[in-house]
């Protein structure tokens, strides 16, 4: 029976210059959910609440059937935050021994050393001597070696070259082979999410604009290029936002198939996640 690995119900977090929510979000078990949004949209804030780093000011968060601050729940969770990790003067061997003490019997030293070998990471080399990609691989090895049921990842592929990104995405696909495994990851690299995510949640100015199945989303949204006159023939609510130029109009539309039926002869390509974000952000910027 399908169940949710994580749920946010009416979650709110208020800072001096930013407010997140109220936010409702569910992460179905066995899926990869991509969390997208502009810088400062609230992605990291959301992940921090979900992983128990910070408590919400309102609403409630549930993780793996319990509360995020419960150590029993955290023992089944693997987390990678972009900046937060062990001190860079340590090496992988130190980290392995430290995590063995923290996770106890759950920590699989053999699996950790296997990941290090697979990623070509030397156990005795200090973290500060690693490249950005190697650091990310080490963070992932650390997050995976206690056999977590869920991975929460904040920008895991940011700043990495395509080869390393490919390796990391392969690892995620491998992890998700187990139907009880779940991944929630935020990313600015939407092409990565288009490759691996099952659904996309879009945060915009602290609000969840949508959380939809990725394939349905790609089919639903289209990028329409037409004249102003054609645009006026569209029913209300179909056009999300239009950018006008001397060459005509470029419009993000919902219901691409319907638009093509209504305006035969116009060009309406499927919109990517980047396009959707760009146009939503343009609409709200007006």
């Amino acid at each position: 029976m399908p169940y949710n690995a994580a749920e946010l119900h009416g979650v709110q977090k208020v800072y001096k210059d930013f407010k997140l929510g109220p936010l409702d979000l569910t992460v179905p078990a066995g899926t990869i959910v991509g969390l997208v949004g502009e810088n400062g949209a609230g992605k990291t804030t959301t992940l921090k609440i979900l992983t128990g780093v910070n408590p919400p000011d309102g609403g409630r968060a549930e993780l793996l059937g319990g509360l995020p601050k419960d150590p029993e729940v955290r023992a089944r969770l693997g987390v990678v935050f972009e900046e937060a990790y062990f001190y860079e003067g340590m090496n992988a061997a130190h980290i392995g021994r430290s995590m063995a003490g923290i996770f106890g019997a759950r920590w699989d030293a053999g699996a950790f050393s296997g990941y290090l070998k697979r990623f070509g990471l030397e156990p005795d080399k200090k973290i500060k001597e690693y490249s950005r990609g190697m650091r990310m691989k080490l963070s992932l090895a650390t997050a995976l070696a206690h056999a977590p049921e869920m991975l929460v990842l904040d920008e895991p592929t940011a700043g990495l070259d395509p080869v390393v990104r490919g390796e990391i995405l392969d690892l995620f696909l491998e992890f998700i082979q187990d139907e009880h495994h779940t991944i929630l990851m935020s990313s600015h690299i939407t092409s990565d999410l288009e490759q691996i995510a099952d659904s996309i949640a879009y945060l915009h100015h602290g609000q969840l604009l949508f959380h939809e199945d990725k394939d349905a989303l790609m089919q639903e949204y289209g990028l329409l290029r037409c004249s102003e006159a054609d645009l006026h023939r569209l029913p209300d609510g179909m056009a999300v936002f239009t950018r006008r130029s001397t060459f005509g109009c470029e419009t993000l539309v919902k219901g691409r198939e319907a638009v093509l039926r209504l305006l035969p002869g116009t060009v309406c390509d499927p919109a990517g996640i980047d396009d959707i974000m760009r146009f939503y952000s343009g609409r709200d910027g007006q």
Binding site: P71, F81, A84, Y85, S98, I102, F103
Partner: protein
């Protein structure tokens, strides 16, 4: 807790192994070559200071945010720092005490182990007091600002101590000093002349102080009080840490 302690130990050992060895050589060398027992007392404090750096390294790597995603409680995260501090102070105490066994003044008989023990206990009490203040302040203000805040606090405590001596009359001060054995009795019975003699003798040696049981109350009580303060400080740090946002 074991994993957390190991993390701090490996960071500090990695960063300061050479510094700590150099510190031991310099402090022991100065104590032995220049007859400076103070350097052995200071060792207790200096080794403790290194553990304070563990908080700075955590800040640099945003460790506390990461630690909040691991199956460890705030009490364990904070507890590992306090335990590390305690281990460092205990290590400094034992090294210092062992060094006193071969100290030239002890060998010559011009200084007793009793005096060394008193000095080491006083240094331990001071180190515990320092960390009792600095650790909660580090979690509240950050380790950089906490250092300044602790210095200001210690200065305030010194001013308060000085002010209290000004507020007391010289008789009251002498009574207190007599009570703890820093001053001889106000009067003694002279059996030869069969009359009471008025005395005003200030004792300057630990041998003389140590003959008064109240002096030991002060030393043992001070050390035990610092240890209690240290435990209280741990609870305060946990409360601060639980409300910290990352």
């Amino acid at each position: 807790m074991r994993g957390l302690l190991y993390k701090d130990w490996s960071v500090l050992a990695g960063q300061y192994r050479k510094n700590i060895l150099l510190l031991l050589v310099v402090y022991l060398g100065m104590a032995y070559l220049f007859d400076m027992p103070f350097m052995l007392y200071a060792l207790v404090f200096m080794l403790g200071i290194y553990t304070q750096s563990a908080v700075s390294f955590d800040e640099k790597s945003h460790w506390d945010m990461y630690a909040h995603t691991l199956p460890v409680s705030p009490a364990a995260i904070i507890g590992s720092k306090y335990l590390l501090g305690l281990l460092a102070i205990a290590g400094g105490f034992l090294i210092g005490l062992a060094a006193f066994l071969f100290f030239p003044d002890i060998a010559r008989g011009t200084m007793g182990m009793e005096e060394a023990l008193v000095g080491m206990l006083a240094a331990t009490a001071l180190a515990l007091l320092y960390f009792s203040l600095s650790l909660p302040l580090s979690y509240q203000l950050g380790s950089e600002r906490a250092r300044t805040a602790v210095m200001v606090l210690i200065l305030l405590l010194a001013v308060l101590a000085t002010a209290s001596t000004v507020l007391l009359s010289s008789e009251q001060l002498q009574d207190i000093q007599r009570f703890f054995g820093f001053r001889g009795p106000a009067e003694i019975w002279d059996s030869a002349q069969e009359q009471t003699l008025v005395m005003d003798v200030e004792y300057g040696s630990v041998y003389q102080w140590a003959r008064n049981l109240h002096f030991w109350w002060l030393i043992v009580g001070g050390t035990a009080g610092s240890a209690l303060l240290y435990a209280g400080s741990w609870l305060v740090s946990i409360a601060i840490y639980k409300h910290k946002q990352f």
